[in-house]
Amino acid sequence: MMVADWSHGVVLAASILSWFIIGAGLAQTAVYLLQLIVAAYALSRRPPVARSALLWHRYGDVAPPIALLVPAYNEEVNVVESVHSMLALEYPNFEVIVINDGSKDQTLQRLIEGFKLVKFHRPYEEAVTHKPIRGLYSSPMTERLFVIDKENGGKADAQNAGINVCRAPLFCVIDGDSILEPDALMRAAQPFIDDPERTIAVGGTIRIANGSRIEAGRVREIHLPTRLVALFQVVEYLRAFLMARLAWSRINTLMLVSGAFGLFRRAEVVAVGGFTKGSMGEDMDLVIKLHRYMRDTKRKYSIQFVPEPVCWTEAPETLSVLGRQRTRWQRGALECFFRYRSMLFNPRYGRVGFLGFGHILVVDVLGPVAEVLGYVLIPAFWLLGILSAEYLLAFTSLIFTYGVCVSVCSLVLEEAELQRFPRARDLAVLTAVAVIENFGYRQLNNFWRVKGWWQFLRGDQGWGEMTRTGLGGAKK
């Protein structure tokens, strides 16, 4: 009798656990499929403007001034070339502010030599807090460039210093080792031109430059990466930007504007205190703060994602570096979720509380744990005869076959509307990658995310070293 009770209990517990795992998978898949539909609708409603010359002709006279904030920490390899390419951007009114965040290498020296920098006094408002500034520099070669040399305080702290020193009503954050396409600012500024009162932030697409031909800080020819790890990330980034962000943007619930390339209205960012220092996910944190502030003050606003402006970045090519990056991203997402948990399902925050935070809950908080549990428990329960084959098949389909569908559909969106990959062969390769990433890479990613969970619970605040070879080292 007791044995029967015990086995009944085990089966019941296993069934509940299985339902939780499959339910989380179903919710996640449903979110992805919904995102695909909304993103496809958004792209079809707003197809891109093909040529930048047209944009200049149309918006050149009314484009608002922008300050480009470029935090640089130990970027001696790329910094001068990156700044040269930023200064050559096609935008009528912008300044580049490089923030040397107490680099231990020759970053500042390279900038001083490369641009003949001289010390400069520029009055600025101490609107947000940051570590002390040691000096400001300007260049006699160009009026557009300013360099801030400050004590090390992290990326968010450096960006805050840039926010204080900049004078433009809009600022754009970009990583020091990234490459903006020449017309990226013009394209990203479009929502600020079309709806200047309500638009407070705009994000653009990040693409992976590994393998592409880069000359003088410009991506001259787009090629796919040669390493499989970077190829997986090409598909991942397409999914993240072209599907997820576009969809959330369409319903004004975008919770993340990438710190690698985002345009913000300065006044609102100052009002929320700038970037949160010490945050693992300072970009997500800022966007959530902006949502909260605008909702609290009952102001109409929009935070948009525009797919056409492109920022190229270098993706990690080794599993160890990628793993560190992903665990950090996971900690960042969890940190933001728990820091602003009062917004979850809070009617005061409307769709941001329900859809935006609901999405983080399903995809970032529960998703990885449920999926990793599923990898272990579902097959085990089936082998032990506790679960029927139906459950095993349902789980398999949620992980593998729906995964293939979502990844391939992101590629379909890209090809149907943007066509940024120049050759049919690239598409064939990416289609194959979109299929095989679900068999191994996805599982590895989830393992890193669970590791991120564990580190978050332990209060681990380390960023881990992000080894880069430099985009100048990409195919030439």
Binding site: R58, D61, K119, E390, Y391, A394, S397, Y402, E415, T431
Partner: protein, 345 residues
């Protein structure tokens, strides 16, 4: 559970089939792509040759030999580079080849981006039917961006309906776009009164009223100075700030008194614009109120006031030095910072 499995297989297979079709489409595009590039090149060569020999028939032969989309696309870019007689002759050649009719169709049936571009091209080509097509787009297009583009194009061809009607057709949501600034800046001087009327309308959107004032200040000059002086007292801070910017450009006999009053406005943007205007007009008699403004709670106002003082030359700098040498305060710090601005010695 079986449904989950079946659906997943179906959706994955479907996505793969669509992707394979898109790859096949791309293979075809790649084959055609080089042909289109060749056609574009030959057309551009013909256009360049036309600017040298003015052989309209030869150009028309090339225009008709390439696909209309290539002709329109490359042609528009080229036309926008030309001016005067050359430009007019080229436009005539395009019209004689019937290309504007195709652009008109694009304005009706294209996607949003194509329709905006078509409106711009119609304005450049100035065909007989351009005005009718553009008016129709302004009237009926579902996208406000397209309606604004149509309005700008109509302004360029001198056929913009009265401003009140145009703005009504653009719609309230469209009246937040900075593109309206461009529309107003393109207004012909003979229609400036419409802008003045609009800027003075209390029931209009403040953003468009401010844009109208900016446009009048840029092109209308001193003629509207009295209007700007009155508009400084507008209840909308956005309009008042624009009027102060305008006054800073045109000047006015009562400017000192108007600016002193504006410096006490509740809105920091208005106070900052008042300081800027004082600096731009070189009203050194306003040094005292500007010095007071340097204790303003808003940094932008303090900075504008200090800059205005600095723009007065030696007299202003003396005031700044006195403030900088006084007890530590907001104004003292601002004055020190402004005086130090520039290359470090």
């Amino acid at each position: 559970m079986w449904l989950v499995w079946d659906m997943s297989i179906l959706l994955s297979a479907l996505s793969l089939v669509i992707m394979l079709l898109l790859i096949a489409r791309r293979v075809l595009q790649e084959r055609r792509g080089s042909a289109a590039a060749d056609q574009r090149r030959s057309l551009l060569t013909a256009l360049i040759a036309f600017t040298e020999n003015r052989d309209r028939e030869a150009l028309k032969a090339v225009l008709l030999s390439v696909p209309a989309s290539v002709a329109i696309d490359a042609g528009f870019e080229f036309i926008s580079l030309l001016r005067g007689e050359e430009h007019d002759e080229l436009v005539s050649a395009f019209n004689e080849c019937g290309l504007p009719a195709l652009v008109g169709k694009q304005l009706e049936r294209g996607n949003g981006a194509e329709r905006i571009h078509a409106a711009e091209m119609l304005a450049a080509l100035r065909s007989e039917n351009a005005v009718a097509s553009l008016l129709s787009a302004l009237d009926r297009d579902r996208s406000r961006e397209v309606r604004i583009a149509a309005a700008i194009a109509l302004c360029d061809v001198g056929a913009l309906p009265p401003l009140v009607i145009t703005l009504r057709k653009i719609g309230i949501a469209g009246q937040r776009s900075r593109r309206l600034i461009e529309l107003f800046r393109r207004f012909p001087p003979r229609r400036f009164d419409e802008l003045e009327d609009h800027a003075g309308r209390q029931d209009a959107v403040p953003f468009t009223r401010a844009a109208a004032i900016d446009a009048l200040a840029r092109s209308g000059g001193f003629r509207f100075a009295d209007f700007f002086a009155r508009a400084v007292g507008d209840p909308s801070a956005e309009v008042a700030a624009a009027a102060l910017r305008a006054l800073g450009l045109t000047g006015h006999a009562d400017a000192p008194a108007i600016l002193v009053k504006a410096m006490a406005n509740d809105d920091w943007d208005v106070r900052a614009e008042a300081a800027n205007a004082a600096g731009r007009l070189g009203l050194s008699e306003l040094a005292a109120p500007l010095a007071q403004l340097m204790d303003d709670e808003a940094w932008t106002v303090r900075y504008a006031a200090a800059n205005a003082l600095r723009s007065f030359g030696r007299a202003g700098e003396r005031v700044l030095q006195e403030i900088a040498a006084s007890e530590v305060s907001r104004s003292q710090r601002t004055a020190s910072l402004i005086l130090a601005e520039g290359p470090a010695i």
